[in-house]
């Protein structure tokens, strides 16, 4: 039941920890470190879930999400937003733009995995 997950995050150690955790759960993990690369990657091959950091170089998380939601076939792509700023305003804005979940750094591994599973399950049900 492995899913394809794309991580868009520019802190290498955080990418490393996420990759390790998700791979261990049996998912296929890809990582990019800029917003524009993230957009190219999802166009190239649609993942089942996108973990999106807000503070990304070149194109930030807000813009990535806005363009995803405007792109055909990607409106429904589950997106989990990661942020280190922890501001309520950011959370609200992301939810309005169509984020499916919002996780503040630092996160608990167990909590993060539970949310990933929940998002993947929710996305799989109407499809299956």
């Amino acid at each position: 039941m492995g899913a394809r997950i794309l991580i868009a995050e520019d802190e290498p150690f955080i990418v490393e920890s996420l990759s390790f955790l998700l791979s261990r759960e049996g998912h296929e993990v890809d990582a990019v470190d800029t917003g524009s690369e993230a957009l190219r990657a999802v166009q190239r091959r649609r993942p089942d879930l996108l973990l999106l950091d807000i503070m990304l170089p070149e194109t930030n998380g807000f813009d990535v999400l806005r363009r995803l939601r405007a792109a055909p076939g990607l409106e429904e792509l589950p997106v989990m937003v990661l942020t280190a700023k922890g501001q309520e305003a950011d959370r609200k804005r992301m939810m309005e733009l169509g984020a499916d979940d919002f996780v503040t750094k630092p996160f608990s591994n167990r909590d993060l995995l539970a949310r990933v599973a929940s998002l993947l399950g929710a996305a799989a049900r109407p499809a299956g």
Binding site: E11, F13, I14, E16, S17, L18, F20, L21, R24, T34, G35, M55, L56, P57, E58, T59, N60, D63, A84, K85, G86, Q87, T104, K105, P106, F107, S108, N109, R110
Partner: protein
């Protein structure tokens, strides 16, 4: 010796010629060929009616008695025409606009066309002018007698002679006839009288030439020239008075100077020729120099005659008759006759103009209002009132001359000419407060003017006029000496104990002081009627065109036919027809009948025309009888005017207030923007600190959880030993990063609060820079950036903490290396370390090193905040090298701690340059010694030199 008959014949011939001149001039003017008659020269010469027989005979007498005092009589008017021409211009302008006929009319018009004021001013004028006319009669009579050899002695006692035997009586009769012929020939009463003006001007020339002739005779006929004349003067005691000043001269001079200046405007005849008969305002400009010249000539002529008279005539000769007696005594009958003609000219011109002016005032302000009250006009008889007016004027002339004669006859010839003249001057000076206040002070009211005039006039009568009768043996002597009823305080020449003053100074001081005080005080405590307010605005703003036409805005209504009937009755059929024809033409209609039924402008037009004939007050009263709705609408107009003015003033204030408010609002907006910016910066700072702390903590937490999990379960989640080791090293790495960040934040905070206490020591700035460069060489090589040391062997001793200083250089070099993208742009990335090129004159007091690179430069938007916390590197959307964003902020603080500075000296897409500046060590030590606590805070350092260098 001439007989009286011959003298009178010659006088008659002269006056007849004068009449022909006047007649001819009038005809010319009527045909529209004014020519020289309406020239400024004629206007100026007509002003010389000021020089009466008092001047002609009396000035010589006055010079002989009181020395140079006679000059003040000429200085006053000179002062007025030269320095006060703007007042004259204003009077002329107002008089033309308002069709003013006399000084009484002027003052009355200003105070709401008040009939009581015009009547009062007229009565005062009569009282003042009568003695003045008496003076002329006396002069002419005395000159006739002297010429006929009847009375060569000083004074004549006229008492006990029959009136018919008195020369003065016949002189008065002649003058009355002559004035009536001259002044009331016109069917209409109001028209200017160019004939009279021309005759007066001619007489002024005769006066001057005749006085000049006598003066020349005194010098060259009586003596061999000026030399002999002055030689005589030298040994004659009396002449000394001419050149020396009398005791008490200051106050008397000032008073006579003031009086003659006031008289030049206020005397009815002066007002008549100067203001009413003025045809062109520009004539005033010519008069302002030509008239003083005339007076100067007269005063020059007076002196030789006076000297010759005093030194060469018997002492029994009346000095007032020197002009006649000097040639007479030498047997020069023809010359004496010329002198007589000159004196006659002076007297007749004064009497003619005065009587005309007075007859206008008496008929307009006393008789017409009385006739109006007696309802002459309500009877619907079509009597032509213009004929009545002419008759009234003729009778007035007879009345005023009779009064003059009575005064002359009762007082006799006891007082010298000059003293009678000055008493008259003091009388008319009472008009001055109401007149000047009227054109310059908007607050003057009718009640104020009336009270002031009455008080001034009463005191003038009591202190000056009454004592002048005393010498005539009228039984006033006891009053003079003891006061009325023996009350010394009320003594006319020492009122309220003010004794020992010159009688003239005393009288004028009391009357004018009371006049001014009451005028101002009562004005302040009384209200103006609407018409008064309107008129006062029109008078004061005489030069403001928009205000003069304001009366036309009063919505009154009157049938044109009624107005025409009224005009016909006052002006006569012919002139009324002309008046309405002119008006109809100006309105673009052919006949009177076509005029609109109600036309407020026509009412004003007719009222003005009537005012020219019968005065403003009477005209208003007449028009008010047929015009409806005046009072209410007038008040409403005043209200509208006031409100408009108020609104303008208010809106100006509002505008000013709103400008102030705008300014305040702008300041507030700026302050608010600053606060918002500060608030935003604070939020930003917290958000960035949060981000910077959370990022390493995320890795630490995540990896440590994995390790803990493995330790607890050991099963499925087991990690390989190698992996566990890697996770631990990441945790350690990130912990160090976290600690460093916390250190930096705290460091910066302490520096900002001035809580750091470093040991400063002497180090070499160049050495420290080189050390830092050495440290960064590895980073530079990794990034393929060339680090070039251009410092050479310069010595730059400064006071600093070496580690901290090195930290600054490391930070700057690391930025220069990390951000340098020259290689990406196809060039070779370079960073230079060199001595800063200092502007000339900044001296060697500052040590400075520059770090220059050929990187992309700092974007303009970021230059402002370059040195603030987290400023750089958080630019969203740009690929950034890692860093907390606190480096430059900390570096800047460090430099401030050392009393130096850190700044960006250049930035462009071709590269940027930063300067590290510190005071020279010696300089810094000196500053530290003079400073009690040099290291307590960033401000304590010697910063003057770097500040100056920063420019």
């Amino acid at each position: 010796m001439l007989t009286t008959g011959v003298i009178i014949l010659i006088a008659g011939l002269y006056l007849g010629g004068l009449f022909l001149l006047a007649f001819w001039s009038e005809r010319r003017a009527a045909r529209g060929r004014g020519g020289f008659i309406s020239s400024p020269l004629v206007y100026t010469l007509s002003l010389a009616v000021y020089c009466t027989s008092w001047t002609f005979y009396g000035a010589v007498g006055s010079a002989s008695r009181s020395g140079l005092e006679f000059l003040t009589i000429y200085l006053g008017p000179t002062l007025v025409v030269m320095a006060w021409w703007f007042l004259l211009r204003k009077l002329v302008r107002i008089s033309k606009a308002q069709r003013i006929t006399s000084i009484a009319d002027f003052i009355s018009a200003r105070y709401g066309k008040s009939a009581s004021i015009s009547a009062l001013v007229t009565i005062v004028s009569v009282a003042v002018v009568a003695p003045y006319i008496a003076l002329q009669l006396k002069a002419v009579a005395a000159s006739v007698d002297a010429l006929a050899g009847l009375h060569q002695a000083a004074t004549v006692d006229v008492h006990g002679r029959s009136i018919l035997a008195d020369t003065g009586f016949w002189v008065a009769v002649c003058m009355a006839v002559f004035t009536i012929l001259f002044g009331t020939r016109n069917q209409s009463a109001d028209e200017r009288q160019p004939g009279v003006v021309a005759a007066i001007a001619f007489e002024s020339i005769v006066k001057l030439l005749s006085l000049g002739a006598i003066a020349v005779f005194a010098i060259y006929g009586m003596n061999s020239g000026l030399g002999e004349l002055f030689d005589r003067a030298d040994w004659h005691e009396g002449v000394q008075r001419l050149t020396t000043l009398q005791e008490d001269f200051e106050t008397r001079w000032l008073v006579t100077l003031f009086l003659s200046a006031a008289a030049f405007i206020c005397l009815p005849r002066q007002f008549h020729v100067g203001i009413v008969e003025n045809t062109n305002e520009r004539h005033l400009a010519t008069a302002s120099w030509m008239f003083p010249l005339y007076l100067l000539l007269v005063s020059l002529f007076v002196i030789p005659i006076a000297i010759s008279g005093m030194t060469q005539l018997p002492e029994t000769v009346n000095p007032d008759l020197y002009v006649l007696m000097v040639p007479q005594s030498a047997g020069q009958t023809e010359l004496a006759l010329i002198a007589f003609i000159g004196g006659l000219s002076a007297a007749t011109s004064m009497v003619i103009v005065s009587s005309i002016a007075m007859s206008i005032m008496i008929s307009n302000h006393l008789v017409t209002p009385l006739l109006l009250r007696l309802s002459v006009f309500s009877q619907q008889r079509t009597a032509d009132f213009s004929k009545v007016l002419i008759l009234v004027r003729r009778l007035s002339i007879i009345a005023i001359l009779s009064l003059g004669f009575i005064y002359y006859y009762s007082i006799g010839t006891t007082s010298p000419l000059a003293s009678i003249g000055l008493i008259s001057f003091a009388g008319v000076a009472q008009f001055l407060p109401a007149l000047i206040g009227g054109v310059y002070w908007e607050g003057g009211t009718k009640s104020g003017a009336l009270t002031g005039l009455i008080a001034g006039f009463a005191l003038w009568t009591y202190t000056l006029l009454v004592p002048s009768f005393a010498g005539a043996g009228w039984g006033f002597i006891s009053v003079l000496d003891e006061g009325p009823f023996g009350i010394a305080l009320l003594q006319p020449d020492a009122l309220f104990g003010l004794a020992g003053w010159d009688p003239l100074v005393h009288g004028l001081t009391w009357s004018l002081t009371a006049n001014v005080i009451l005028y101002v005080a009562v004005s302040l405590f009384s209200r103006q009627s609407p018409l008064e307010r309107l008129q006062s605005a029109v008078f004061i703003n005489a030069f403001d065109r928009s205000r003069t036409g304001v009366e036309g805005a009063i919505p009154r209504s009157a049938a044109p036919e009624d107005l025409f009937r009224l005009a016909r009755r006052i002006l006569g059929r012919e002139r009324a027809d002309q008046l309405f024809a002119d008006y109809a033409k100006s309105r673009g209609v052919e006949r009177r009948a076509d005029l609109p039924a109600t036309d407020p402008a026509l009412i004003v037009y007719v009222e003005r025309a009537l005012a020219g004939s019968i005065g403003a007050a009477s005209a208003r009263s007449l028009v008010a009888r047929i015009a409806k709705g005046e009072t209410i609408s007038l008040e409403s107009v005043i209200q509208i005017l006031d409100e408009t003015q108020e609104a303008i003033r208010y809106s100006r204030e509002l505008e000013k207030k709103s400008r102030e408010l705008e300014k305040t609002a702008r300041q507030l907006r700026e302050a608010n923007a600053q606060l918002t910016e500060l608030d935003r910066m604070k939020d930003d700072f917290l958000s960035r600190v949060s981000h910077e702390l959370r990022t390493p903590m995320t890795s630490i937490r995540s990896f440590s959880e994995m390790l803990v999990e493995q330790g607890a379960e050991g099963g499925a989640a087991a990690l390989e030993g190698e992996q566990a080791q890697r996770f631990l090293s990441i945790i350690q790495h990130e912990s160090v990063r976290l600690t460093r960040l916390l250190d930096q934040i705290l460091d910066l905070n302490r520096m900002e609060n001035g809580q750091l206490d470093w040991e400063l020591q002497e180090v070499d700035l160049a050495d420290i820079a080189r050390e830092a460069a050495e440290t960064m060489r590895g980073l530079a090589q990794n990034g393929d950036v060339a680090l070039i040391d251009g410092l050479g062997d310069a010595r730059l001793p400064v006071l600093a903490d070496p580690d901290r200083l090195k930290q600054v250089f490391v930070n700057l070099l690391s930025n220069a290396i990390k951000f340098n993208d020259a290689a990406e742009r196809g060039g070779a990335a370079k960073v230079w370390l060199e001595l800063e090129r200092r502007p000339a004159g900044s001296g060697g007091a500052v040590c400075a090193v520059a770090i220059r690179d050929n990187g992309p430069g700092v974007p303009p938007a970021e230059q402002q905040t370059l040195f603030s916390k987290f400023s750089r590197g958080w630019k969203e959307g740009s690929r950034r090298p890692t860093g907390s964003g606190l480096g430059l902020a900390i570096s800047k603080q460090i430099m401030l701690q050392f009393g130096g500075e850190l700044l960006m000296t250049a930035s462009s897409p071709a590269g940027s340059s930063f300067a590290v500046r510190l005071p020279h060590a010696e300089r810094a030590l000196q500053a530290a010694q003079t400073d009690a606590a040099p290291e307590t805070g960033p401000e304590a350092g010697p910063e003057a030199a770097p500040e100056a260098a920063a420019e």
